[in-house]
């Protein structure tokens, strides 16, 4: 099954904290492919898809960040109106719950990449496969 490795970082809600995370990765020449920020009133979680996962984790930990790794699913869809709705409809019809999702910064021409965290990953992947929705592997992420 194709999964990709997402890095999650705990950050307190204060000015400049997100900057410190991305600045650190930039200085170590780690390219961020996708990023999403989930927040509550006083803390947040930065979720990242990067090139060079192991190094990113090492660098962040060395600098005192709390980091965890979560397997997620990346789907490549057509970059045109209605394509996201179509995939979400398929998932909804099959009772698949999405915990969270976000989009990629630099997809290939004519394509868009969305990453998903499902409540039931296995089941979700079966459905996506059945409906011929293209999922990306970690290697493929590195290519785009």
């Amino acid at each position: 099954m194709k999964r990709i490795r997402q890095i999650s970082v705990f950050v307190e809600n204060r000015p400049g904290r997100l900057l410190e995370v991305v600045d650190l990765l930039g200085k170590h020449n780690i390219n961020i492919k996708a990023l999403s920020l989930a927040d509550s009133s006083d803390f947040g979680i930065v979720r990242l898809v990067v090139k060079g996962v192991d190094e990113a984790i090492k660098v962040l930990k060395e600098n005192g960040f709390t980091v965890s790794e979560t397997p997620i699913i990346a789907c490549m869809i057509d970059d045109k109106p209605g394509s996201l709705a179509s995939i979400l409809r398929t998932l909804a019809e099959n009772q698949i719950n999405i915990e969270y999702m976000y989009g990629f910064a630099s997809p290939v021409e004519g394509k868009a990449v969305m990453v998903f965290k499902f409540s039931e990953t296995e089941k979700a992947q079966e459905i996506l496969k059945e409906h011929n929705i293209k999922m990306l592997s970690q290697e493929e992420i590195r290519e785009i």
Binding site: S8, F10, V11, E12, F43, V67, S68
Partner: protein
Amino acid sequence: MIYDDELETLPREALQALQLKRLQNTVERVYNLVPFYRKKLDEANVKPEDIKSLDDLKRLPFTTKQDLRDNYPFGLFTIPLEQVVRVHASSGTTGKPTVVGYSKRDIDVWSDLMARSLAAAGVSKGDIIQNAYGYGLFTGGLGAHYGGERLGATVIPISGGNTKKQIMIMKDFGSTVLTATPSYTLYLAETIADMGVKREELKLRVGILGAEPWSEEMRNAIEEKLGIDAIDIYGLSEILGPGVAIECIEAKKGLHIWEDAFIPEIIDPETGEVLPDGEEGELVITTIQKEAIPLIRYRTRDITRIIKEPCKCGRTHRRIERIKGRTDDMLIIRGVNIFPSQIESLLMETEGVEPHYQIIVDRVNNLDTMEVKVEVSEKIFSDEIKHLQRLKEQIEKDIKDLYGISVKVTLAEPKTLQRFEGKAKRVIDKRKI
């Protein structure tokens, strides 16, 4: 191991007879030599010869920290300064410090009491004591030092701080005993893990920890992280320094107070009335072996109770319960009394938080507010907000359920809250600033 077999296991009756004799000597001494005490006793209409039984102790007036300040620096000494071989002083965060003096004999008695305390914690001659209590005006460093030497152990006088060097020395010298504050011990444990030093590389066996109130749950955290026995020791500079009371390693339940040198009482801090054994209140201590500055019924402001039941270790000296906090540390939040140690207990029992916390008290629109900041543990960090939110809400609910006050819990990033090399300062009370 029992250091002084005869005195430590003296039958209660003989111990009380010894206490009475020493109390009578002390009262006579201060009445004749310290104008402050003569005046106080005269005002209370008590003469030294009126002390005929230990029960008469309660006729004597209390001594407070303010009395020590009023007589700053040497006003309560019974001996001329040329017979005083050492002085120590309390930190004195507000105003003048409180100063205490020691005669040669006092240092001798103190060394014995501290050697006795170390032995009760399972330390003996062959041990290597890494003494990370601060050396200086604070009694911790030199108190533990002299006790260790008296016992015949090897003492490393490293003092507090310089954490990485501490760990290098701990490893290279093979330290078996650590004397430090519990909060600094926790910081050492964390740094040991960060430096990648393995438990097998250390010979550490026991930690003798004190100088600040801590909880049973903090003990569990320290014992688990370092794989040692963590022993609670009690003392205060006004009375002596470390070595007033200590847990025995046999029971690790309650601290034996050395009753041949101190008479403990528990009083109601509001009324001053003496409470029966077993009831919680303020600890009051009368020193009956001190020469330079004996204190009569000194109000320690520490909250505890006396455990009168005999201990399985065989020592006949009664125990006091782990100190719950100091009356001046007690927070009153919208009329509810709470000690920081109670919050600590609760946090330590919560899975997923590190034993580092800070309490911030403020007043917003005339209402007291309390914020508890606690570090999230890497072990439970989840990439989903709702899990963390649940952790935060659970702690808020637990505090509300147990102590009836609403607090705001803030999750902090690991290693961002302040670490302490000496006594921890966990409460920031902005209402006073």
